[in-house]
C-alpha cells in the first residue's frame, strides 16, 4: 500500500530541469521508479542546455525546480552577474564525484600535481587557461580553491573560462584549455578514456563529502506550494536511498546513461559509481568517498554552514561585492525546517545542528561560527 502524504500537493504537474551529469541521478530515479507518482506528482524531467538556462527558467517559472549547482542558487539569490530572485534550496542531491583534469601537454612538461603546475606557471612561458562550468558554481569554487591552495592566483595568474560540462572534453582535445573542473562522467573518466588528460585531484580529496548539487527552486514556489515541495523532497529522498544501495548502482547507471538523460555509456558511469577510480598517471584505486546521494540523509540535509561556505567563496573571489550576514542569507535560502519535517517522517536522521565545522585538504578549518575570520586568513583572494 502506498502511504499517502499528509496533504495533497497544491500543484501536481511539475517540470523539473536537470543537466546531463551523473549527479542528476536521484531526480531521474525518482521518476523512473514511480516515486514522484507515488507521492501525487506528475513530473516531466527536462534536460537543459546550460546552467544559464536552468537559472532563467526557474526564475521565470518555466521550470518548477531543478538540479542546480550549490553556488549558482546563491548567485541567483544575490543577483550576481545576472537577474536576482529569492531562491530556495529544498535539499542536497549529492556529495563528491567532481574532479580537476589537466591536459596531456602539461603532463609532458612535467606537471603531475599542484606544486609542479605552480612551478610551470611561474616560468611564464605562455598564458594558461582553465575552465569551470559557471562563474558562481561549485566547479569554479573547487578550481579556484585548489589553484589558490597551491599558490596560483586564479584571477591573476591564469585565464578562466566557463564551458558547459558535456563540451569540456571536446574543448580540451581542441587545445582550448590546459585544465578544467567538472562533474562525472565528463571529468576524469572520459578524459582518461580519451587520453587527453589526467585527473590531478578529485573534489572529495579536497573536501571529503562536500556539498555539490541541490534541488533548487524559488522562495515564491515554496511559499505557494509547500505540500508540493514536501512531496518532491519525499520522492527524491526515497530515490537517493535507493541509489546509495550499492547493489542498485548498475541499474542506476543504465537508467541515467540513456540518451534522454546523461547520454553517456552506462559502463563509464557505472565504474565511478562503484568507486573504481584511476588518475591517468597509472594509479588505480577503490575510492571510499565516491559519489553519494544519501549517506543516511547526511547528503540531503541542507546544512546552513554549506550555504555559508559558498557565500564566503563568492565574497573571496569578488563575485559578491558587498558584505552580507552569511547566516541570515543561508537561513533565507536553505529550507531546513521543511526538509527536516519530511526526513523525520521517513525515519531519516536529521542532525542536531544546521552548522558543522569542516576541515579542507589544505588543513584550513571552516568554522561557520567565524566566517569573517575564515575569509581573512586566505592570502590569495580578489
Amino acid at each position: 500500500m502506498n502511504p499517502q502524504p499528509p496533504e495533497a500537493p497544491e500543484k501536481a504537474r511539475l517540470n523539473i530541469g536537470f543537466i546531463a551529469l551523473t549527479d542528476c541521478a536521484s531526480l531521474v530515479l525518482a521518476r523512473e521508479l514511480g516515486l514522484f507518482e507515488k507521492y501525487g506528482l506528475d513530473v516531466r524531467l527536462s534536460r537543459q542546455p546550460s546552467w544559464a538556462a536552468v537559472r532563467d527558467r526557474v526564475h521565470l517559472g518555466q521550470l518548477d525546480a531543478a538540479h542546480m549547482l550549490y553556488g549558482l542558487v546563491y548567485g541567483a539569490h544575490l543577483g550576481i552577474g545576472g537577474p536576482r530572485t529569492d531562491m530556495a534550496i529544498l535539499m542536497g542531491l549529492n556529495h563528491n564525484g567532481q574532479g580537476i583534469v589537466l591536459s596531456k601537454q602539461l603532463r609532458e612538461q612535467g606537471v603531475v600535481d599542484a606544486a609542479s603546475l605552480k612551478r610551470l606557471i611561474d616560468r611564464k612561458q605562455r598564458s594558461y587557461t582553465f575552465a569551470q562550468t559557471f562563474p558562481t558554481g561549485t566547479h569554479a569554487m573547487w578550481l579556484y580553491y585548489w589553484l589558490a591552495a597551491a599558490g596560483i592566483d586564479p584571477l591573476r595568474d591564469v585565464r578562466i573560462i566557463s564551458v558547459p560540462p558535456p563540451q569540456m572534453v571536446a574543448n580540451m582535445r581542441a587545445g582550448n584549455m590546459d585544465g578544467y573542473c567538472v562533474g562525472e562522467p565528463w571529468g576524469g573518466a572520459r578524459a582518461i578514456q580519451e587520453g587527453i588528460g589526467f585527473a590531478v585531484t578529485t573534489t572529495q580529496a579536497m573536501w571529503r563529502n562536500h556539498p555539490e548539487k541541490v534541488l533548487g527552486t524559488t522562495r515564491e514556489f515554496v511559499e505557494k506550494y509547500p505540500n508540493t515541495a514536501r512531496a518532491m523532497i519525499r520522492a527524491v529522498l526515497e530515490a537517493s536511498r535507493y541509489i546509495d544501495t550499492m547493489a542498485n548502482r548498475e541499474h542506476v547507471a543504465r537508467v541515467i546513461g540513456a540518451e534522454d538523460y546523461v547520454g553517456a555509456p552506462a559502463e563509464v558511469i557505472a565504474g565511478r559509481l562503484r568507486g573504481e577510480y584511476e588518475d591517468g598517471l597509472g594509479r588505480k584505486w577503490q575510492e571510499a568517498d565516491y559519489m553519494k546521494f544519501f549517506n543516511e540523509g547526511e547528503v540531503n540535509y541542507p546544512y546552513l554552514s554549506h550555504g555559508m561556505w559558498f557565500l564566503t567563496q563568492l565574497r573571496r573571489w569578488g563575485l559578491l561585492t558587498h558584505e552580507v550576514d552569511y547566516l541570515a542569507v543561508a537561513r533565507q535560502v536553505n529550507q531546513v525546517e521543511l526538509y527536516s519535517e519530511v526526513a523525520r517522517s521517513m525515519d531519516v536522521a536529521v542532525p542536531h545542528s544546521p552548522l558543522k565545522a569542516e576541515r579542507l585538504f589544505d588543513g584550513v578549518l571552516w568554522d561557520p561560527a567565524r566566517p569573517a575570520e575564515y575569509l581573512d586568513q586566505f592570502a590569495i583572494k580578489a
Binding site: P49, G81, P164, L319
Partner: protein
Amino acid sequence: MPARVLIIDAQSERTQPLAQALAEAGFEVAGIVAESDDVHGAVRSLQPDAILIDADSPSRDTLEGLAVLGKRFPRPILMLSESADTDLVRDAARLGISTYAVDGISPALVRSLVEVTMAHFQSQRSLTMELREAQQALQDRRLIDKAKYRLVEEMHMSEEQAYHQLRRMAMERGMKIAELARLLIEHGAAG
C-alpha cells in the same frame, strides 16, 4: 553611436535576415558567430554592447563567465524596469531568445532590440509551426489507419465499423482518436 550587437547562432538561414532587420532598426551588427566558434574570444575582441543568443545554446554559460568579469561585458537580461517590458523579455525567453546587454545601454534600447528580434523570430516560428502541424496531421492519419486495419483484421469489422469503434472508444476515454490508435497499436486491441 548605434548599439553594437553580436549574434550567436548557428542557423544562418534565420540569422542573416535578422542581422538585416537589426541594421534597418538602427543597430550595428558587430558580428555573427556560430556556437561552435570561439565565443569567448569573439566577445572579448568585438566588445559588443548587446548579445542575442538562442536560449538553448550551450554557449550561454561562456557568456555568463564573461558577464562577471566587469562592466564592459554584457550581462543576462531577464527583465527590464517597467512591468510591461518584463513581459516582453519573458515572452522572448519563451520564444527561445536570450538577451545580454552591458549596464550602460538604456532599457528603451534593449526593448527595441528584443522587439525587432521577436518580430523576426515570430514570423519564422509561425512557418515552422505550420509545417509541424501538417506533419502531425499526417502522422495521426497513419496511426488511425493502422489501428483501423488491425480492427478490420482481428475483429472482422468493416472499415467503417472499425472507424466508429475507434471514435467511440476514444470518446469514452476522453482521448484523441490518434492517441487511442497509438495505444491500440502498442498494446493490442484487448485493452
